[in-house]
Symmetry: C2
Subunit: 432 residues, 2 copies
């Protein structure tokens, strides 16, 4: 093999990062794989745009077929984004016998199994490390590093935008809207931030993580999602007072044969390793029955960090090419998917209520909880500005989601409850 040729689909920030790394680290790459690597073609939308790259114009093309059907291209690197059309491109590439690296979490969360099957059928590798937590080699660690263990829990801070926003809200006492604007100005948040702040982006990554970590096809639709748009400064202050940190947590838990996967704002005990993951950083906490607690921390996005993961996947494929063992690394899921029912999901919950400040209200509230077998770990009552109402903040002991939802229904029906201001899951006290 005299050299290995790469074709890029997309040449935005991540694509440009890939080109830079391949140029700057040519020595290291050659040393590892034994031959040079060249970028042969790159699909772009605009031939004239200045990308700050030292790249020949003849490499750029507006026509995807010049990448997908070029017989000299060995590896197609997809960093263009998009779902349906992109999937078709990758299926074409795989049918042409080209290996694929993708950074596309949207695509892998929705069509991962189909693409992986196509790769396997064509004797090709399909690697997607960059799709989850950019610069952190977490997929590799789940598959190889913890190969022999049974993973029972994964908790992830897998969206940098929301972590940046919650960190700033916590440390600087600012509002969601205010910090979102700063994040947009800094380029940490998209001009349309819906997928980030609504939790969808994190949910896609949790579907990919759970599928690998639990060896079970977890679909995006299986992930329960709640974003951070309704998190208030009051919630964050009470969280601090109680010894918790507010984080958007992707939570994947296996008990016996059943799993639950969710993304939701969560009060995390301050002692939990994820509680000190700040700003735009990502981290994935993994609990394995044998290994115990591990955590993988790093940048979740950005041009060069994400490109690092893409190039590492390229190196994996190129090593396999030299050994002649491509298309053999995908392991099919070992288990059928079984999702937990609400009576099988257990957690502590944080609840903030406004109630009439009258005799007997607290007693009635307490009885609503105790009738469902749920008791309090902490409870706090504060007067509100109006004399008429008081604020009650409580954390339950562990309860089933089914019981907790029944309690919420009864509270809504109880006329002394003016409003349920907020309700969050509380995690971090248990390891496994």
């Amino acid at each position: 093999m005299e050299s290995i040729s790469i074709g890029l689909l997309g040449l935005g920030t991540v694509g440009a990062g890939v080109v830079k790394i391949v140029e700057n680290h040519q020595d290291k790459l050659s040393h590892q794989i034994g031959c040079p690597v060249t970028v042969k073609k790159a699909l772009v939308q605009d031939l004239e745009k200045d990308r700050g790259l030292d790249i020949e114009n003849s490499i750029l093309t507006l026509n995807p077929e010049e990448v997908l059907f070029d017989p000299e291209i060995d590896i197609v690197v997809e960093v263009m984004g998009g779902i349906e059309a992109t999937k078709e491109h990758l299926l074409h590439a795989l049918h042409e016998g080209k290996h694929v690296v993708t950074a596309n979490k949207d695509l892998m969360a929705l069509h991962g199994p189909e693409l992986l099957r196509a790769a396997s059928e064509n004797g090709c590798d399909l690697f997607y490390e960059a799709s989850v937590a950019g610069g952190i080699p977490i997929l590799r660690s789940l598959v190889d590093g913890l190969a022999s263990d049974r993973i029972t829990k994964m908790m992830g801070i897998v969206n940098g935008t929301t972590n940046f926003i919650l960190t700033k809200m916590t440390k600087e006492g600012r509002t969601f809207d205010d910090v979102l604007k700063e994040a947009q100005d800094l380029g940490y948040a998209e001009s349309d931030p819906t997928a980030d702040v609504g939790g969808l982006d994190a949910a896609r990554k949790m579907a990919i993580l759970s599928t690998l970590g639990f060896s079970m096809n977890v679909d995006l639709a299986d992930v329960k999602v709640k974003g951070i748009t309704e998190v208030t400064g009051d919630d964050i202050q009470y969280a601090e007072q109680f010894g918790y940190t507010m984080k958007l947590i992707g939570y994947a838990h296996r008990e016996g044969e059943k799993v639950e996967v969710s993304v939701e704002p969560t009060l995390l005990q301050n002692e939990h390793p994820l509680a000190s993951v700040h700003d735009e950083y990502n981290a994935v906490y993994v609990y394995g029955e044998a290994v115990g607690e591990t955590m993988f921390y790093g940048p979740g996005a950005g041009s060069l960090p994400t490109a690092t993961a893409v190039v590492s996947d390229m190196v994996g494929i190129m090593k396999n090419m030299r050994l002649g063992v491509n298309g053999k690394s995908a392991v099919n899921p070992q288990f059928p998917k079984k999702l937990k029912e609400p009576d099988e999901i257990h957690s502590k919950y944080f609840l903030r209520l406004h109630v009439r400040d009258e005799v007997g209200v607290l007693a009635k509230l307490t009885s609503i909880f105790s009738n469902h077998g749920v008791s309090f770990e902490k409870i706090l009552q504060n007067p509100l500005d109006s004399d008429e109402f008081a604020e009650i903040v409580l954390v339950t002991h562990k309860a089933s989601l089914e019981h907790y939802e029944d309690i919420l229904m009864e509270l809504k029906d109880y006329e002394a409850v003016h409003s349920i201001e907020s309700s969050y899951r509380v995690e971090g006290g248990e390891k496994g």
Copy 2:
């Protein structure tokens, strides 16, 4: 391949963990490698000892040759410890064409290159993930996950015993001797704790990490080592007052073509990701030019966590066996070793002195520093119980080690300096 047979050298805590994992996770292992795995022989020192394992007596042997020369054994797993005799065993195994997994950091730090060469010459795999930071898949991440990046810095909390001791000293205000005794009672420290508290254990791991991360043969003798035996409660309190956390840090830094590797008690800025790694946990912080900051956190020791790493290495070898590509994964160092001289090592330093409480002393001290071009970031003077002396605590701005050592010499010669109580490196403010 109908089944893969393992031979164990040693059946202590880690060996027993390997046997348990192979038994309990037979399904998962078979699913990944496509055939069952059996432990065929285990070298022990005592045939009668109760190990709490469901293992047939015929598997145990007192004779290493029954493991090393059994033609049916595919993989030799070395968890017996020791250096010279163990090296000979592994060389025999490799010459017999057996793949090797070892958890032996002492051995790999001293004889890693020789053993890896023997493996390569015999077409065998030699994996040693468990030798550094037990349950954390850090070697794999350095080699594969960050394959395309140029790593410039690694900082590690890679000794659980010392991290446990420093955590307890910090949080509970106890003395070194007091906490060491507790650590021994809990089994976190050996009855002879010298290798741990003296820093040698961490130095071995840093030699292995630097060799891989910098692609350069770093020997144990290249690692500058200072242990934690002289760390006092006063040092820890001043550290806290200044916003630092005292940790035993393995520090490996590359600038240009030159590296420095050390293990020493270090004051780490509280914001640094390693500063919140507590108790017996380990973590390795890795800075890559492209990826930026990453950190890998988990248990550094223990029967099952270490066994997890061993079995993951076994899985890697078994996959290679099925693909017929063993003996090809070792990458020879890319660079010749070049160590930094003292004038090329730069750091901030913390210094605590007892000086005569007289007019002019502080001015003279200041001039000793400034004559070497070193200025203070922080300085604090406190009276001591005796009227005669005062305590001065300072943190320098960045200085070369050469200048700093010259300053220490001059301070020792200055008659107003009663004693240099302590001196530590200060790190964590810079990323790269």
